[in-house]
Symmetry: none
Subunit: 417 residues, 2 copies
Amino acid sequence: MHIGIITIGNELTSGRIQDANTAFLARQFHLQGWQVVASLSVGDEEEMIAAALAFILPRAETVIVTGGLGPTADDITTAALAHIFGLPLITDEETLQHIRGIFTRYGLKWTPNNAKQAVFPQGAEIIANPTGTAPGFSLRREGKVIAVIPGVPAEVRRMVPAGVVPLLKRAFPGHARHTAVRTLKTFGLSEAAVDQAVAGVELAGVEIGFYPRFPENHIVLSVRDEHDEAAARARLAAVEEEVRRRLDRYIFARDGETLEGVVGALLRDQGRTIAVAESCTGGLVTDRLTDVPGSSAYLERGLTTYSNRAKMELLGVPEEVLQAHGAVSEETARLMAEGVRLRSGTDLGLATTGIAGPDGGSESKPVGTVYIALADGVETRCRHYRYRWERRRIKMIASQAALLMVKRYLAGDEDPL
Amino acid sequence: MHIGIITIGNELTSGRIQDANTAFLARQFHLQGWQVVASLSVGDEEEMIAAALAFILPRAETVIVTGGLGPTADDITTAALAHIFGLPLITDEETLQHIRGIFTRYGLKWTPNNAKQAVFPQGAEIIANPTGTAPGFSLRREGKVIAVIPGVPAEVRRMVPAGVVPLLKRAFPGHARHTAVRTLKTFGLSEAAVDQAVAGVELAGVEIGFYPRFPENHIVLSVRDEHDEAAARARLAAVEEEVRRRLDRYIFARDGETLEGVVGALLRDQGRTIAVAESCTGGLVTDRLTDVPGSSAYLERGLTTYSNRAKMELLGVPEEVLQAHGAVSEETARLMAEGVRLRSGTDLGLATTGIAGPDGGSESKPVGTVYIALADGVETRCRHYRYRWERRRIKMIASQAALLMVKRYLAGDEDPL
């Protein structure tokens, strides 16, 4: 099956935002074995929307349109499509009640322009939007499907696998394929090194893709089979096993898992608790740990001890250590990890200290110097890192290294990385 | 002037990489006052490249083509364009020597396919590539310009301002424009409400765009003038003043500023310090504050007191209060803010407590219930919020409300929001 993608919005043609939907959509369709023939971005103008449709429709069985479904005056996608296809616009009462219900439930002020999101071209089939107010819809014209969804990336990510792909599978049953996909998430190797490490592992019909997601590098294995789902899965499993054999130490999660989720599951399964003392990561380690539902079961506290006073008062780091070795030192990192563990009564204490920059670096401790320590009451692991990158990325990569140290510890790995 | 963008590569139509060039190009052209009528991505296929050109050429004076200039067999852009325009391919000896020189200088092994990057359609004007091996080129056809550059984002970022924009200014001297742009960032109103509030403020030639960036809504005002930069700026200032008059309380930053940056600058300018006690936001408020370089000057500590024990030990919240009112209550929020302020010796204490979900909600305190408090030693402000959204978004919106409470306090606004 051939698909065309049309993304609509002046924010795209003016470069105000980077279109994240096209790549996501293309990937989803590629994994189904469907071919994206072209993607187009046009502004919120009926003439250009019509031109984009006229470009795609002769070349594809399906067109996906995103964007321009909001309540504001510049959102014209629905009206433009109705006009282009000569269809009247009809308010869907059920959708209107649903949107009004959202406003009532959350005490939002109703303004009349919100009713626009309940209006559809006659004959449209509605595509549910579980995360936003504006549903999508699909139209059928001459055996082809035009599926229209909002442009909000979080909504696209929910609606495409839940609504659009099943719709297209029903509309074009001959084009369904058995696919098996596995994402392996790595940390600690460059994209080129990951690429080199897995060179030659391909099996017939298994495709390998590399996707850097700072600070992670993801490996995506995918396999399609026209007839036999079990065969596809078996080929995928064989390649996954070989990739794991080569890169095991660097793989920390798979598919939808996150590092903080993996760490959380290990803590929960092992009945252990943790407390965190942060300096250079500035709360990001704690923020990530608390992104996991139920994290209060194992995270007792997370202290961003930014001042020396806080390091002394809350963690018991002696002033002499701070003066002799500095706040950014292995000595301080170890005492922070041991101090937060002892004072919070947890099984583990994790600490970060470093120089996130842009100022504060020196010859011996340049910007990007980071110490990470993990204490369990018997031993304290400590590791020294030196990162390039700017402030935010130093925080991100240091938080990753800190969480990975916990993951390796809990998995019984002697080497922290 | 109207411009069309064509990006070429199978890695785009398969979703293997996200196209970063289109947004960059569109932004560069928008700032020149040139209008991007459409952007298209197609695979490495001559037929689709020809179709994309046929779509753009009647609608624009200029086409920018990126991608497919590399040395490998799938890079067909140059040959395809030569074929489409009926031009022979010619090796440019100077470029060939230049590429060979790069290989010699860096000790790279020369392979014959690299010579492909020195081949151009007859009559092409070469566009220098200061960071890569493959130069770009431009063709003129019937008064129009087709500019072709590599798809490597780092090369695009160098070649467009240094080569492509000057080339287009020379080719179309009548299309240079003066532009002025202002972004106003709002929080606390829905996109629809922002839209309605600014209805009718347009002045001739001033364009208003709305861009939701959860949990913020951005308003972008842009104005272009053919002759007079001062006139453009004056019109922009008049519209900005009117938007500010209507939405002042909801505007927290402009252009590249962030809320945490604005709060940081206010704290620094006023010589005040702050400490944070977080529960439901789980470290995110502190993480955002520490994203600002130099934040150690005013952030003393940020404590994620996830357990009741931590709230008692580190903030002095009495056990009776936690038992009588619960950890998620106005009483606890106030005591957290007062406690963290007192114990850290800062001017201000900021606290959040709430239910981020998905579990832990009740009839009287559903998921999304959040209390935010700010103490200064004289009075303590506290506000109760109830958010929809899921866990991460509740953390994001609550951290925004907390930082905005600080901003309003420092700006002398009596009402916390």
